[in-house]
């Protein structure tokens, strides 16, 4: 059944393109995805009889809130993301498996991420088989793929101006403490620059859920994000 849907994809895609929607990634190949999933099975089970192991089982993951699989002990970071409204869709799961910390800073999933977009699309297609919510119509949430998550390497390579960063950072310090303590509001000091930049862009694209941060990051341009990263990296 899933296969048939996959086979009819080209015509569906053609219709979507005609409607003016652009997809940077296509729905992947579930069989190839099963192969990619071998990277995950050390911690995650999926399919008939799957249970929580080191990581939570992944049956029905599409459409579920982050950190919402009853009985599994998630990191506070993941619970918070779920409380803030992070729901697993092809888009957010894609971003998460590309770079877990870009989406959930202190996730317990110690996994470098799958950088190849084809591999990501394939493994998502595979996981989709085990999620029936709402259907596997490729153009509908939560299983639709909308955007390309890769950040242009030119953005990551931008050299930020720390003086401008210091000024911009004063806005962050109304809530986040400069001594790095976290108390209801996460710490943002001493982040590796790249993680910081990726996380801010994830807010800007509304992949990360928090409304205040989506708003704050939403009006920062690439140079301003680089400037902030440069400043915070240099904080003692």
């Amino acid at each position: 059944m899933t296969k048939r849907w996959l086979q009819s994809l080209p015509s569906v895609l053609a219709a979507v393109f005609a409607a003016g929607v652009t997809w940077a990634e296509q729905i992947g190949d579930a069989e190839a995805g099963a192969e990619v999933f071998t990277k995950c099975i050390g911690c995650h089970q999926v399919g008939d009889g799957a249970t929580d192991k080191i990581g939570p089982h992944l049956n029905g993951v599409f459409g579920r809130a982050a950190g919402a699989n009853d009985g599994y002990r998630y990191s506070p970071s993941m619970k918070r993301a779920g409380d803030d409204g992070l729901v697993w869709t092809a888009e957010t799961l894609g971003a998460y498996i590309e770079n877990p910390r870009a989406l959930v800073s202190k996730t317990r999933m110690s996994f470098r991420g799958i950088k190849d977009p084809v591999d990501r699309a394939n493994v998502l297609a595979y996981l989709r088989i085990f999620s029936d919510n709402p259907s596997d119509l490729p153009e509908a949430e939560p299983t639709a793929l909308a955007t390309d998550h890769d950040i242009d390497p030119a953005i990551l390579a931008l050299e930020g101006d720390p003086e401008y960063g210091e000024y911009l950072a004063s806005e962050c310090l109304t809530c986040h403490k400069s001594d790095g303590t976290s108390d209801g509001i996460p710490s943002i000091t001493l982040w590796p620059t790249e993680d910081f930049v990726v996380a801010m862009h994830a807010y800007k694209r509304k992949l990360r859920p928090h409304p205040v941060m989506q708003m704050m990051a939403g009006r920062l341009n690439d140079e301003e994000i680089a400037a902030l990263a440069a400043y915070f990296q240099g904080l003692d």
Binding site: G85, E166, T174
Partner: protein, 421 residues
């Protein structure tokens, strides 16, 4: 466009610095001087950032009468029993240690020609740039029957400290099944969700300690900040306890008799056991004395918070009339940073970056039931203009509301560290 403006600001900053220099030298004083009046979210932040970022190239004096500052934000949580009064008090010791000259006195006059501030203690303090962040005072005669001499019988509790403690004591002393009344203020006023968070916190306290007590709110407005969220919360947590009388039902037709402890709303007299009168507000008096107000507030330029009346006098926070930002501690803190950056640029030639403002107001409806509203803003020619915003939704999960409350606690420690060091 952005580059051009930055260049333009930079150029005028250099020009201003060179103009200011002779006065400073004539004074026999080596450093440019900034005087800040008012040590709250606007003034303390501005003083701290100018001293910190100029690395002592600017002489910063902060004039604030109280030795211990009690924040008005979070004071409702003290009334509700969620926080202690000591949680709200902050001293100026760290600011002084960071190089700010902290003077505990009242500023009673400003001579804008001589560029001096006169203190109640008798001395005069010269300035090159003056930043006024005096908060609010009340409009006389705003509530019939109430004036400052009645504030012991019917506290406003709209400046942090002794008034907050007094109101809490009066609520605690209410007889079983007694009545608490609030007279809410007309727009614009400090902390738009504040009166309604207060109603929530009073209800929270009464529900636990005096569950048959009643709350009446006389409000001259037809609607208020986060109204749907508060009304949902009141129905969920305090069903039948709170009677909000808005403009449509005569909430604006109100007078009080502090001696008899009665409140008259639209002709109907009610005996009350505790009464919180929050009158209409205006800029703190020193802004008016400095001659930078028009009507009740001080109009300012959005790019740097300088007043329309005088380019060397800045007004921050509640006292300013700036456009779209609500009067809040968060707003004042945000404006202070833009102002500090501009003032430092004007006096030392340091880079001046484009103004960016933001605000978030958290409110607590019941224990662990927090909500928030916020927005970002930019400077336009005419005002501080809203860019983007968000508000909590009705029907959110208990987990999210708890996370929002914990976030507000994090913000409180964050902003107070940002103000006082």
């Amino acid at each position: 466009m952005k580059l051009n403006r930055r260049l333009f600001i930079g150029t005028s900053a250099v020009a201003a610095a060179s103009l200011a220099a002779p006065t400073v030298l004539a004074d026999g004083h080596g450093k440019p001087r900034v005087v800040v009046v008012g040590g709250g979210a606007g003034g303390a932040t501005a003083a701290r950032y100018i001293a910190k970022d100029s690395k002592n190239a600017i002489d910063v004096t902060l004039i604030e009468p109280t030795r211990m500052y009690y924040t008005c934000f979070f004071s409702n949580l003290y009334i509700g029993g969620v926080k202690e009064i000591d949680d709200l008090g902050h001293s100026y010791g760290k600011l002084a240690a960071a190089g700010v000259n902290v003077v505990h006195d009242w500023a009673i006059a400003v001579d804008r020609d001589a560029k001096t501030v006169t203190l109640a203690g008798g001395s005069t303090v010269p300035y090159d740039k003056l930043i006024l962040s005096p908060g609010i005072d009340f409009v006389e005669g705003a509530v019939e029957g109430w004036d400052l001499s009645s504030q012991n019988a019917m506290p406003h509790a709209y400046k942090g400290g002794s008034q907050t403690e007094l109101l809490k004591a009066k609520i605690a002393a209410m007889p079983e099944g007694g009545t608490f009344a609030m007279v809410a203020p007309p727009n614009p006023f400090r902390c738009p969700p504040g009166p309604y968070e207060r109603v929530s916190m009073v209800a929270h306290y009464l529900k636990a300690n005096n569950p048959t007590a009643k709350i009446i709110v006389a409000d001259p407005k037809p609607k208020f900040s986060k109204m749907a969220l508060f009304q949902e919360g009141w129905a969920d947590h305090y069903d039948g306890m709170i009677d909000w009388i808005g403009e449509d039902f005569g909430g604006g037709e109100v007078s009080v008799d502090p001696a008899a402890m009665t409140v008259t709303i639209d002709g109907e007299v009610t005996e009350v056991d505790a009464c919180n009168v929050i009158p209409a507000m205006k800029a703190g008096r020193i802004a008016e004395l400095a001659g930078v107000t028009e009507g009740n507030w001080a109009p300012v330029n959005a790019a740097d918070m300088s007043t329309k009346a005088d380019a060397d006098v800045y007004v921050l926070g509640d006292a300013s009339q700036q456009g779209d930002m609500p009067k809040s501690g968060f707003s004042a803190n945000s404006q202070a940073k833009v102002c500090a950056n501009a003032v430092r640029g004007a006096l030392t030639g340091s880079k001046v970056f484009p103004a960016k403002f933001s605000n978030t107001c958290w409110s607590l409806i019941d224990a662990n039931d927090g909500v928030k509203v916020g927005a970002t803003y930019e400077a336009t020619e005419e005002k501080i203009a809203k860019v983007d915003g968000f508000i909590s939704s009705t029907g959110e999960s208990a987990e999210l509301r708890k996370a929002t409350y914990e976030e507000s606690e994090g913000w409180y420690t964050g902003i107070t560290a940002d103000m006082f060091g």
